[in-house]
């Protein structure tokens, strides 16, 4: 059963094809990784899927509905959420508030009851806070709950972003380099976390440079180079693909 299908997605920036005719699909419980060298167009692809950029061509279909270029907040309502490579955390808010923000769709009612602090608003806020604290606990951030988000370490911010995304209880979760800048222990934690999320029936789309992580947890891998899909398949198939090894894996391994 396909939950998300990407059909011939492409975009140009100033006449240059940043992404060209990329298609793949993801089902619930799957971890689909998008890999490729720097500048291959991975983040651009994510930006198109998640509605940040308007694709020049192609379609994004979610649960049978065409959601191409739909605004991110509407996608969120349909169960799609993402994290960012360059961290988009609400810096001046507390860690707890950042995660509560993820409960926005469940928490928000009418403004008037918010202004007057009516019981309904209070109840919603209380539920959201409880949910947020639970998530922080799962991600090991509960001790930082009252701290200003801006004061956290890079690895913690990465986890905070994931916690915020999980708060939406998404059907499709896009993670853009969740392990970047994390140490080995943190990477392993994230590894488990992603597996856990996928196991709960979420379709996870992953952009990641840590190949060990990718190979370990992906059920399907899409390889991009210069904006085009050059290979796709399960980890074993992809890692054996000579084109991929030549263009990416070999070079990458050699670099390490």
């Amino acid at each position: 059963m396909t939950l998300l299908s990407i059909e011939g997605l492409g975009i140009c920036f100033g006449g240059i094809k940043a992404v060209h005719d990329v298609s793949f699909a993801a089902s619930p419980g799957e971890v689909v990784s998008v890999i490729g060298p720097n500048g291959a167009g991975k983040t651009t692809l994510f930006n198109m899927i998640s509605g940040v950029y308007r694709p020049g061509s192609g379609r994004v279909v979610l649960n049978g509905e065409d959601v191409t270029a739909m605004s991110p907040h509407l996608l969120a309502r349909r169960g799609m959420c993402r994290t960012f490579q360059n961290l988009q955390v609400f810096q001046t808010m507390t860690v707890l508030e950042n995660v509560i923000a993820g409960f926005h769709l469940q928490e928000s009612g009418d403004v008037l009851s918010d202004l007057l602090n009516l019981p309904a608003a209070r109840r919603r806020a209380k539920d959201a806070e409880a949910g947020a604290r639970e998530l922080l606990r799962r991600l090991g951030l509960e001790r930082a709950a009252e701290r200003e988000a801006g004061s956290l370490s890079y690895g913690s911010l990465k986890r905070l972003e994931i916690a915020r995304a999980m708060a939406l209880k998404p059907k499709v979760l896009l993670l853009d380099e969740p392990a970047a800048g994390c140490n080995a222990v943190e990477t392993e934690e994230i590894d488990h976390l992603i597996a856990e999320i996928a196991a709960s029936g979420v379709a996870v789309l992953l952009v990641e440079h840590d190949m060990k992580l990718v190979m370990r947890i992906s059920s399907h891998i899409v390889v991009l180079d210069h904006g085009e899909k050059v290979a796709e398949g399960d980890p074993a198939t992809v890692s054996r693909n000579p084109a991929v090894i030549a263009a990416y894996l070999g070079a990458d391994d050699a670099a390490r």
Partner: protein, 290 residues
């Protein structure tokens, strides 16, 4: 026909005044992302210092030069005393600083120069020039010429000189500019000096037409700001176009529609332009990078 020409001449004169003020805004904005609400006070100082230097016996060109240099020096002082110590503060705080500085300068001008309205003679005579039944004052030509010269100068500065590019680089990314060896404090100082100097020159040129007093700055700042935003903040081309459009529009509205609502016309056009081009006519579109 001669009416239309007259409205046009009137609009271009006033528009050139706005454009001069708007051009002053672009310098500081380009260097620091701050819209300097004291810009109007520079215009006022240009006029007032010339008045008093002239009254003290200095010939008009010397008086004008004194005014421009003194105001430029004041611009540098403002940067050193008020803007530089607040580096890193939120942009709204910096804007409030420029508002505070404008109140301060106006207060000082009121003490030093008094509250009288002043004027000095036009540069090349007062007799109107007649063109096809319409008239224009020789001083208007000075103002229009001044706006064009400053525009060309700024445009060349930003596109053809290393220093001008350094200013733009500083505005784009201060840290990166420092890393490639740009002396950013000097760029800021230079921007304030030039901006204040341009403002003062505007004051010198327009005073024979619009007269001057210690409190004329605010009106100039408002219209100049609107014109600069219409054209797209930070772009000399935008400042010139924005100023002329606002000026001509005001004159046409006053002439053909309603003088009561002539200022409304300018703002309605600004609404319309920004609706279709949120970054102004010549401004660069900004996108969030994620």
């Amino acid at each position: 026909m001669s009416e239309l020409l007259q409205f046009l001449l009137s609009g271009v004169t006033v528009g050139a005044v706005y454009a001069l003020v708007a051009l002053g805004f672009t310098m500081i904005y380009n260097a620091s992302d701050v819209v300097n609400f004291a810009q109007g006070e520079f215009v006022m100082l240009g006029g007032m210092i010339t008045v008093f230097a002239h009254a003290a016996g200095a010939p008009l060109p010397l008086a004008a030069l004194t005014a421009v240099v003194a105001t430029a020096a004041l611009g540098v002082a403002m940067n050193k005393l008020a803007i530089e110590p607040a580096r890193g503060a939120p942009v709204v705080s910096l804007v409030i600083i420029t508002i505070g500085a404008s109140i301060f300068i106006r207060g000082a001008a009121q003490l030093i120069f008094g509250k009288q309205i002043h004027r000095f003679p036009a540069f090349s005579g007062e007799d109107p020039i007649r063109i096809l039944g319409a008239t224009i004052l020789p001083q208007s030509l000075w103002v229009i010429g001044g706006a064009v010269v400053i525009f060309v100068g700024l445009w060349l500065f930003f596109t053809r000189t290393l220093l001008g590019r350094a200013v733009l680089a500083t505005s784009n990314n201060r840290l990166a500019a420092q890393l490639v060896g740009i002396n950013t404090p000097f760029v800021m100082t230079l921007s304030f000096a030039m901006s204040a100097g341009i403002g003062a020159l505007a004051g010198v040129l327009v005073t024979p037409i619009t007269l001057t007093a210690y409190d004329v700055g605010l009106a100039f700042a408002l219209k100049g700001f609107a014109a600069a935003m219409l054209g797209g903040m930070g772009n000399p081309k935008g400042a010139l176009a924005g100023g002329l459009i606002v000026g001509v529009l005001e004159a046409m509205t006053a002439g053909y529609l309603s003088s009561q609502y002539k200022d409304a016309a300018a703002f309605i056009i600004i609404f319309a332009v920004l609706f279709f081009r949120p970054q102004g006519l010549f401004g660069r579109q900004s996108t969030d990078r994620v």
